[in-house]
Assembly symmetry: C2
Homo-oligomer: 360 residues x 2
């Protein structure tokens, strides 16, 4: 493992805000975009934090992101809306759409917003968790750069297409399930690449569908496998879930879908003859008191968490985890003790500092 | 494989309706309940069709199902509702709840109904697909008898907790993803038991978490594994998805959840000190034209399906499948050529015929 350098939350936040202002974001949008990245770093989703900052800058340089977007609701009912994000950063359009969904939930119990013409939105959990502050359930999903092959295919047709469900809880960290519908997220391959380790032979396949434990297989034309990995173990379920995320994010919104989703990395070209506009997201919000009195809901939720924490362990030393619990613990820790960054990310940020005349 | 006997759809439908009337269902409810079972048999989900008929009868005999239920909406907003199913058959309360969700979607764009105090609802796809007739997206999920262990646990804490998403399409079978969040549904184990075959060692674990390929492991105190099967392959994702289904179906509705969900088999007792009422479901409906003009949606959906059907194959002889396509093809076939039943199911139905003085 390479050496780590530790930065305070405030230091990285301030730096990210400055970079977003440098590429033309309003002060408000820069604060918002930085907040999504810092949230990922605090929660330990290091692949989606400031490590991506230079990627967003490159997308802007490739003229695939508009930093002064004119976002507009183009279709609407009392509980639904479709937002044209005008090529905004997903880090900005995501929270904007969630606010619309929350407003609708306040009014009619639930709110559902599909977003077209957007870009990579960071971690899904940031958006879904916005609902928690008002005792609402938050849902967020997005399609993404095509890297994943459907069952029986060797073509990259889907992104790692995450879905996140955030549930409010009292006296305990909220339940937050944020999962890529691929067997393993790309970030895990990157870690194996850095450390020179092999990966389980159920994460990727070679260009012709060969079994592979090479973390560099994607660079050679291979593809990620869906959750389930093999037909025997339910890869068709992972494919179906990934497809559902694509339908909500792309087909329902008017964005691109499947292999046409514009890649996050700016060096890969956008496909010709696109069927839609940009990349798509989908957000949902449900008020818990649109179903039950709040106190009843919170009592059941507490019972659920307590009971699952006490589930009989396979290994006495390894507890059963409540989704979102480890990330919440890390967030508490990193707010105090800082955010460790690997050397490659520090170099990347120093590059941005040099480019924009900033100090890290 | 044991010999199969083939019955016409009409024959099995009429028989199932009669049985439901015999246990006290109104004519309307008997027709509805039978329709859910026959739909499963037509679509090839044989474990959830008339094979379950005697199970519902036994639940009624154990006084755990009310065949003249007084179902009531106990909480409501313009886009949401909670239904107390009064111990109805889930085969009856499910469609009832979906109709409420569809009515709300007609009015405000989407509708979401949580159901408490219910029973096993058959296949999730039946309910979700009700929305398709009106160009709406249908979602259905339910919690179920605890058989599945969370990651790092050896205790049966969750059901196979299915989720279904049904998307309307024109000129093609609808996209219907109906999946248990366990690595394999219980029905697959039953097939292996009947044929005396081993199962992949990633479906179940032994009582102490041992790796096992014994299809009878559940009878010896073992548990089903979640989708992903192992930590390396993302079993925590399957656990998280199963938990989300449980939260929607149980915690949000006021039904039981986790290990307290009443078992479908009448010979297993209901737990003491239940935290909720009966078993729970959750249904959602979204009008496609609450997001985009219908013709735009259907054009994108057609493009999606056509493109995925053409995805590069791993094996030239094995096509990439659109979720719901094989089931739709089987439905067309079985409507004409009849429904094959294994000997054990035929005997089961003959037993019911004898009990109620009916002929099969």
């Amino acid at each position: 493992m390479s050496a780590m350098q530790v930065y305070s939350e405030a230091q990285l936040r301030s730096f990210a805000e400055k970079v977003f202002r440098k590429i033309g974001c309003s002060n408000e949008d820069a604060i918002q975009a930085a907040d999504v990245l810092i949230c990922a770093d605090l929660r330990g989703i290091d692949s989606h934090g400031v490590a991506r900052l230079s990627g967003y800058v490159r997308l802007h340089e490739a003229e695939r992101v508009r930093t002064k977007p004119d976002m507009r609701v183009v279709h609407e009912t009392p509980s639904t809306a479709t937002l044209d994000a005008d090529e905004a950063l997903g880090l900005v359009s995501g929270p904007y759409a969630m606010k619309i969904a929350m407003e609708k939930a306040r009014n009619v119990g639930s709110g559902w917003v599909a977003v077209e013409n957007s870009n990579h939105f960071g971690i899904a959990a940031y958006h879904a968790m916005m609902a928690l502050e008002e005792d609402m359930i938050g849902i967020a999903m997005t399609n993404a750069s095509p890297l994943v092959a459907p069952t029986h295919s060797i073509e990259r047709m889907l992104g790692t297409n995450p879905m996140c469900f955030a549930w409010p809880a009292k006296g305990h960290a909220p339940f937050v399930a944020d999962l890529a519908t691929a067997a393993a997220a790309n970030g895990k391959l990157e870690i194996a690449q850095r450390t020179g380790k092999k990966i389980p032979d159920t994460w990727v396949q070679g260009r012709n569908g060969e079994v592979s434990s090479d973390p560099n297989e994607l660079k050679k034309g291979g593809s990620l496998l869906t959750l389930g990995s093999t037909v025997d173990n339910g890869s068709h379920k992972g494919y179906a879930l990934s497809a559902v995320v694509d339908l909500f994010s792309g087909v329902l919104s008017g964005a691109n879908f499947g292999p046409w989703v514009p890649p996050f990395v700016s060096f890969l070209p956008v496909q010709p003859d696109l069927p839609g506009k940009g990349l798509g997201h989908f957000f949902g919000v449900l008020r818990v008191d649109a179903f039950r009195p709040k106190e009843d809901y919170f009592k059941s939720m507490e019972q659920w968490i307590n009971r699952f924490q006490k589930a009989e362990r396979k290994d006495p030393g390894v507890p059963v985890i409540i989704p979102g619990e480890p990330e919440a613990a890390l967030q508490t820790d990193r707010k105090v003790n800082g955010i460790p960054l690997v050397e490659a990310v520090v170099k990347d940020l120093e590059g941005l500092a040099g480019k924009f005349g900033l100090s890290l």
